[in-house]
Symmetry: C2
């Protein structure tokens, strides 16, 4: 077990096992992949060592974000997409981000049943991850979990989140390719979401295309997308119709995903997106580290003192922020 | 005009005017209030001076967040609430946060018409603020705008946002009291939102209570709220029915808002919430300042170099974050 305290011999023993774990994960051992992701999720003291060991092996996988309102058939579509990708011989990772409410303690989404079709396939790795907060925001460890799957040799990694507000923007930040799922008959939900989803999709999938209204959804979407002011050479997001439950249209989805990945590479956009993503990741880790220093003084912290002064009108937030930075950056 | 370059005589002239502006704002001059908020929104070089001048005059107002899905009647309710608060002699500020999509360039919400009922009332100050991004997230200058209205002598400040995802949580972080609006016939929207709204409301208002289904909404809400595990002495969020368009039920809303404010004070919760808010504010300003230092080197920044190394697998994000912090905190 790699869960050791970071002291003495325990550390040495555990440290020795990280390269082993990475080597085994790269050989396709699902238990080693699982263990590495657990180390990430638990923010293990070994996290830094894990990340350093994985780094040289990353950058291969196409990371695909899948988002859409509840009810559009995300889980079914993800599962059908996995099947299609396997037909093409791809090694596939799936991260399903479950927004579970701390209020109810239960998951908002539950039916991952179809994923079990792939349970015995060693070239499919499926993992549920906890979300940050009740709105399905991605945990800050999600990028690290992606690195594990990438280093483990996945050709494609699907991240599936519920599409409420912030999470769909976050997923677009993490993914090379963002797939937005829609379905007919979703009513107001789509209307409200439109402003957001039109900016993030690299590929739009109208699922449940055998139902009334599917063509209308596609027409609406097409005319709204046509309003976008895209420069010469920019990617024009295609719209694909599917019936995920009958596995219809998934071949075209896979074709468009490959087309987009080719475009990303040839346009130099892949490198840009990945550098931007790395930038965000580094910043998030640095800011988290600083925050813990700020709050980490025993008893009442420097920041608490400053906050109390601002709350009572004795100081203002800018002066307080200056004082905070002075205390910790000099 | 206080828009000057921060150099030489110009600065001195503008600097002299900040105390004047603050004094006039405190006398109830709406143009001075407007100018101060503009200085905040434009992140004027005078911002720090403005905040320092306002600080001693803050802490009086009850800040009330109003959130709810599109279609529940937020603008109408806000307007009717302003009228009722004026009947009680309260000085009222309203910040309406407009989620405008950078895609369409247009506002998602438009009808603020009813607000014009209050246009001639000097004791009502109404301001629209831009939101951050297309999902209606609050701008990081929103807390500063609240400070302006607070120092200007408002007894109550209403912040109205569209309730999509993140913004409703953000508003709960800013407000002393959070009002969640619901209405019958909103269908799936309410279902999807429920997990989130149950955690943030201090007061629930079922608007359009003359319509079919209002009692059902109240019953559902009541039984879901009853599941919450609230400690002895905790606030139990009441549910009030209104017909905002006919100004029905607003007296009870105002009564409950006052009751909640009294409870906040007697339970010591007000001080806690405000200290927590000040803490978040200070952190946000400090992190923003650090971020601009990181990105502020001419040409390619330190952070860009590190991000490129991580994106190409030459480094990992933790090592890069350590290097970033070392470069800027020593």
């Amino acid at each position: 077990m790699p869960t050791t305290t970071p002291t003495g011999g325990g550390r040495r023993r555990a440290a020795a096992s990280v390269p082993d774990l990475v080597a085994r994960a790269r050989d396709g051992d699902p238990r080693s992949v699982a263990r590495l992701i657990s180390l990430v999720e638990d923010e293990s003291p070994l996290l830094r060592e894990v990340m350093a060991a994985l780094a040289p092996h990353t950058g291969h996988a196409q990371i695909i974000g899948i988002t859409g309102s509840p009810g559009v058939g995300k889980s079914t579509s993800t599962s059908a997409l996995v099947t299609e990708l396997r037909r093409h011989g791809r090694r596939v990772g799936v991260l399903a981000v479950d927004p579970s409410s701390p209020f109810s303690g239960g998951a908002l989404l539950g039916d991952r049943v179809r994923m079990q079709d792939h349970a015995l396939d060693r070239d499919v790795y499926i993992r549920s991850m906890a979300s940050r907060g009740h709105l399905g925001g991605l945990s800050w460890t999600t990028p690290q979990a992606l690195r594990v799957l990438d280093a483990a040799g996945c050709d494609v990694i699907l991240i599936e989140t519920v599409g409420v507000g912030q999470s769909e923007v976050e997923i677009a930040g993490l993914a090379d390719t963002t797939v937005v799922l829609l379905a007919p008959g979703m009513g107001d939900g789509i209307q409200a979401a439109k402003a957001g989803i039109l900016e993030i999709g690299d590929l739009y999938v109208v699922n449940k295309a055998d139902r009334d209204g599917a063509d209308q959804v596609r027409r609406d979407l097409r005319s709204m997308l046509a309003l976008a002011d895209r420069p010469e050479g920019a990617w024009r997001p295609p719209i694909v119709k599917t019936v995920a439950q009958r596995a219809e249209g998934l071949d075209e989805v896979v074709a468009k995903l490959e087309e987009h990945f080719d475009w990303l590479q040839s346009a130099g956009e892949l490198e840009q997106r990945r550098t931007r993503r790395a930038r965000d990741e580094i910043e998030a880790i640095a800011v988290t580290a600083l925050r813990s220093r700020w709050g980490d003084v025993h008893g009442r912290s420097e920041l608490d003192e400053l906050a109390a002064a601002v709350a009572t009108g004795k100081s203002d937030p800018y002066t307080a922020a200056d004082e905070l930075l002075e205390a910790f950056t000099e």
